[in-house]
């Protein structure tokens, strides 16, 4: 068992609000420089940069998890972390089936591009990625778990786009694997993690969480959130 440092909320340049410097290559380089063992790429309502980042991470010795920051109908942001490539592809199809297809204006909100390993643009997403899906938070949670994933309401202590700002309090019948916080919080009923929510390279690793794991992986993380087999959250540092 060892201490694993992880930042599981990082936006690539695919997110409209993500800086164009946030290429998968740059994300991996920064993660390495910041001493992170494990990261997750979590773009708004998209997983399309996950596979490239996973591949680049493998070469650099950084474990990359596949994720998305999903906006549900209530304008609540939640992280969904997926177990493998097949689950990611299937979850992406589910997201696409629930998209509101609101046309995107890059001049106002920023570019939404997918790039390849040579940093050439291979796709431009035409609908506004950050817009709420036609799916309630209950449906997002159910879909995350149907895909074997983890459901983590994001930045719950922020005054906007969080489960607490939109819904007043956390509905107790939602199955929540952990909650992500930005600041300091009193003890919560859920496992608490911190992540950077980086949109620019300098922010990668500005907040992270240390876990006690056998090795960095999705399965090990899931065990740590449940406190199983000696795996656990050590600290949620900011």
């Amino acid at each position: 068992m060892k201490q694993i440092r992880a930042d599981l909320h990082i936006h690539s340049l695919l997110s409209p609000c993500g800086s164009l410097e946030m290429t998968p290559r740059e994300i991996i380089a920064r993660a390495r420089a910041r001493g992170l063992d494990m990261i997750a790429v979590s773009d708004h309502n998209s997983t399309l940069h996950c596979e490239l980042t996973v591949a680049l991470g493998k070469k650099a010795g950084i474990t990359v998890l596949r994720a998305a920051e999903v906006t549900s109908a209530e304008d609540v942001h939640s992280l969904v972390i997926l177990p493998d490539g097949a689950a990611r592809a299937s979850f992406q199809q589910w997201i696409d089936s629930r998209s509101a297809h609101i046309p995107h204006n890059p001049d106002i909100f920023g570019d939404q591009v997918v790039i390849d390993e040579n940093e050439n643009i291979i796709m431009e997403i035409k609908h506004f990625l950050t817009a709420a899906l036609n799916a309630s938070i209950d449906e997002v949670e159910a879909s995350a778990h149907r895909h074997g994933g983890l459901f983590i309401p994001a930045h719950i202590d922020r005054p906007s786009m969080s489960i607490t700002s939109q819904l007043g309090f956390i509905p107790e019948d939602l199955y929540i694997d952990a909650v992500e916080v930005v600041g300091r919080t009193a003890e919560l009923l859920y496992p608490v993690i911190r992540n950077s929510d980086a949109h620019i390279p300098e922010h990668i690793g500005r907040r992270y969480t240390e876990y006690m794991l056998d090795h960095p992986s999705f399965e090990e993380l899931a065990m740590a959130l449940r406190g199983e087999n000696g795996r656990h959250i050590i600290t949620a540092a900011s």
Partner: protein, 110 residues
């Protein structure tokens, strides 16, 4: 003025909470952030929102609101309606957007 009066005047659909149609109305509040309503809506207010999550009823009950009006043709879920019946706080509906509905409600209750 009672909830039943605004149902009639604004041609609202009554989804649930029929037992509460006799509640007195003291004013209105329009917001889609439940954290905001929880902190600011006054007792007896009619709350206008597009949120349909079941937490709406918990907040309505907490603030002792007269009724909830869901705009833009959105429909509450089963669990929201069940709680509305239990609390006897009506959930009403309209196809109008919030701005239009709020304007009409304001003119009849002020």
């Amino acid at each position: 003025m009672k909830v039943t009066d605004i149902v009639e005047k604004l041609n609202l659909k009554v989804f649930s909470g029929h037992e509460g149609l006799g509640r007195e109305i003291s004013g209105g509040y329009a917001s889609d952030l439940l954290s905001d309503v929880m902190g600011h809506a006054d007792a007896g207010a009619v709350w206008i929102t597009i949120q349909t999550h079941r937490n709406v009823m918990a907040i309505a009950s907490l603030r002792d609101l007269a009724a909830v009006i869901i705009t833009c043709g959105e429909k509450p879920g089963e669990d929201t309606m069940t709680q509305s019946n239990e609390e006897a706080i009506p959930v009403l509906g309209t196809d109008l957007p919030t701005f239009e509905l709020a304007g009409r409600l304001h003119s009849i209750i002020s």
